[in-house]
């Protein structure tokens, strides 16, 4: 039974946690890909930026003696999301819009987003330094334990993890209603589907672009902050988080927000289960069969150091076998 609890903690829950983070990131990337038609390489650093803003705000409030029922970094989340969304729009205006207007090819925008990511990286490291930081200030990190009958270990979920599940769920539901019910949400889908017809129809592309950055930037800030709350704020996440998010986007199908959510969890679970030590689950089976076979000490499919290979291999396989992704996205 203990082994099963271990599997729930290190496999199922861990996969759901990282899957949620990837999903939140991938929604933004897929919307930007669908509407602005380029792979947004600055998304990873946008997440870090959001977390960094949360850190600064929370640190300032903590220093002012502010306290509340939740960790401060969680309570400032709405402000963080708004600020990050605003910065995203600013970045778009300064760096991407002029290129779009001059009729540059999509790939030039990809290059520009790499320039932006380097700028963000530089600024974040200049102000935050290279070391990682805690987003918990005065308050303890609550841990919830669920007892399992017949096991002396417990299923454990920390406060930020629980919060992550809740905000992910809320975001997904809100996004669903926004895209399927609201005028602007439908317009976003229309632009993603057929930009020239959308223009002919009188849909203002710039409004849609702005909405895209608000959602993408806001969710990136959310994902970055939640990740930093769960682990810690690392300024050098960048490409290491970007690759699985791109993989999630493409696995889900480009331009498909629901696909991005599914893709996020697929990639998150693939990664978690690939580095999971399966001997833990084999040991009880070996005991029942009177040790008919020997269980190696560690039986992970992929060594932890090579974790990044998992999203990459997924990405390559999907490009070979189903470039449209599971939700039949666009092939650009």
């Amino acid at each position: 039974m203990n082994e099963l609890v271990f599997f729930i903690n290190k496999g199922i829950l861990a996969g759901a946690i990282i899957g949620s983070i990837y999903a939140l990131g991938a929604i933004g990337v897929t919307l930007i890909f669908g509407i602005l038609r380029f792979a947004h390489f600055a998304h990873g650093d946008m997440m870090t930026l959001g977390a960094f803003i949360a850190y600064v705000l929370a640190a300032a409030l903590a220093a002012a003696g502010f306290a509340g029922p939740l960790p401060i970094a969680m309570m400032v989340l709405p402000i963080v999301m708004i600020l990050t969304a605003g910065i995203s729009i600013g970045i778009d205006r300064t760096f991407y819009q002029p290129l779009r207007r001059s009729g540059a090819k999509g790939i030039v925008l990809v290059m520009a987003s790499i320039g932006v990511t380097l700028m963000l990286q530089g600024l974040i490291r200049l102000f935050a330094g290279p070391s990682s930081r805690e987003l918990y200030f005065n308050e303890p990190k609550d841990i919830f334990r669920i007892e399992v009958p017949g096991a002396n270990q417990m299923i454990t979920v920390t406060e930020p993890q629980l919060a992550l599940f809740i905000v992910t769920l809320i975001s997904v539901i809100a996004l669903h209603y926004f895209l399927s019910r609201s005028r602007l949400g439908k317009a976003m889908r229309a632009v993603s589907d057929n930009p020239s017809l959308a223009q002919v129809t009188g849909i203002s592309i710039e409004t849609v672009v702005r909405a895209t950055w608000i959602i993408g930037g806001g969710l990136a800030a959310l994902a970055g902050t939640m990740l930093a709350l769960d682990v810690s704020l690392k300024p050098d996440l960048s490409f290491n988080i970007l690759l699985p998010i791109f993989a999630a986007t493409i696995v889900g199908g480009i331009g498909q927000p629901y696909g991005a959510i599914a893709g996020g969890f697929v990639v998150g679970y693939a990664e978690t289960l690939a580095v999971f030590n399966w001997s833990v689950l084999l040991r009880p089976i070996a005991r029942w069969t009177d040790n008919a076979f020997e269980v190696p000490a560690s039986l992970a499919i992929v060594p932890t150091d090579y974790k990044l290979m998992v999203p990459f291999v997924l990405l390559i396989l999907i490009l070979i076998y189903r470039p449209t992704g599971i939700f039949k996205g666009r092939v650009l």
Binding site: F33, F38, A39, F41, F95, P98, L99, A104, G106, I107, V108, V110, M111, A112, I114, G115, V116, T117, L118, M119, L120, Q121, G122, L123, I124, R125, L126, F127, G129, P130, S131, F239, N240, L242, L243, F246, I250, I301, P303, D305, Y306, L308, M309, P311, F312, L315, I316, L317, L319, I320, Y321, P323, V331, L332
Partner: protein
Amino acid sequence: MTDNRRDLLLFAGLGVLFAIIFYTQGTAYSLRVTVEALCYAMIAFGLSLQWGTAGLFNVGIMGFIAAGAFASLFVTFPVNQAFWDSEGPAMLGDVLVKVAIGAAAVFAASRSGKIGLPKPLVTFLTLVTLAVAYLVVSASLDPTARYIEREAGFVGGLGLPVYFGWAAAGIVAGAIAWVVGKICLGLRSDYLAIATLGIAQIIKTFLKNADWLTRGTQTVSPLPWPVPGAAEVGFTAARASYLVLTAVMLVIVYMLLQRVYHAPWGRMMRAIRDNEDAASAMGKDVTKRRLEIFVFGCVLMGIGGATLIHFNTIFDPNGFVDLNHTFLIWVMVILGGPGNNRGAIFGALLVYVIWTMSEPVTLVIFDYIRTIGRDMFGWQAPADLNSRALAMRVFVIGLTITMVLRFAPKGVIPERLSRKA
């Protein structure tokens, strides 16, 4: 004619810049910077070919440099007798046989459609074979790696002459490029960007963790030189002869590229780049041409990486970073003028010099900021200000990229389309 004169002027300015550096920084140091800049120019040729000529977006240059560097290390480093005397070669041979069998099985499975199997089944078979092959290989590689690390440290090299190593560097980088290109080049360039970014991170991770093969973070040194070293002919003479060697290689590659550029093949590539619709109408042929370009460009990157790493005589997987080995090269190429080989050289030399000089300059500037901040505002600078200061260079690289794209998309020495054609 005026174009040529302009180029000449720009290069003359560059010459003056180098003269100043030689004069102020001393010959030995300046020789080092120049050799490194030439190695970067070789790599920049590769990117200029890919991006400038064919519009291929490679953000994994670091991976191809690292792969080339490792290949050269393996071929040229002295033989590790302890490894060859142990069980290691036999065990490794066993692993390689399994790799070969696995690869053959996967290939066979992927071609099983030829005997009439339905497509989903072929996919399923291929994936299962791939998974099984992976598990078998990794299960036998693990103990082998541990054994080699315990008994012999690492595999060592083959002890062959350096030129063989450089050739191997090109071959290995090209082979990896072939696989990546085969998968991604039929699709839009964004996919290639993502895939190359990924492959670069993975190559680095592998080189860093495969201690049995590369000694990982313990680094390997000294790498042999193709020319007499400092111990034999003295510091300056040794570096100068390395400089001559790289310069000669660069000139040969330049002439080769110029010929290619003006050949019908080069014209066709530019046509493809400038008109994607026409390109897709031409279909498969285009993908094949693109693959050739991509592989050739990566070969140059591999060779450039090997020359760079041999010059510094140390192989350190952690020394390969995206900033220095991917984005710096992008700045060189887009600033110099993509699609123009003179632009690539010019960009590489200029940017590399600025880059090297920027480190001390940044530190000095931040030292001032620290002093002024302390004296005037009582500001206590963070202890890691120096490493933070260097982050400014990352910012500047990013800013340069975005600004060049917006205000000078054709670079300093723009591509010249010959009207003759």
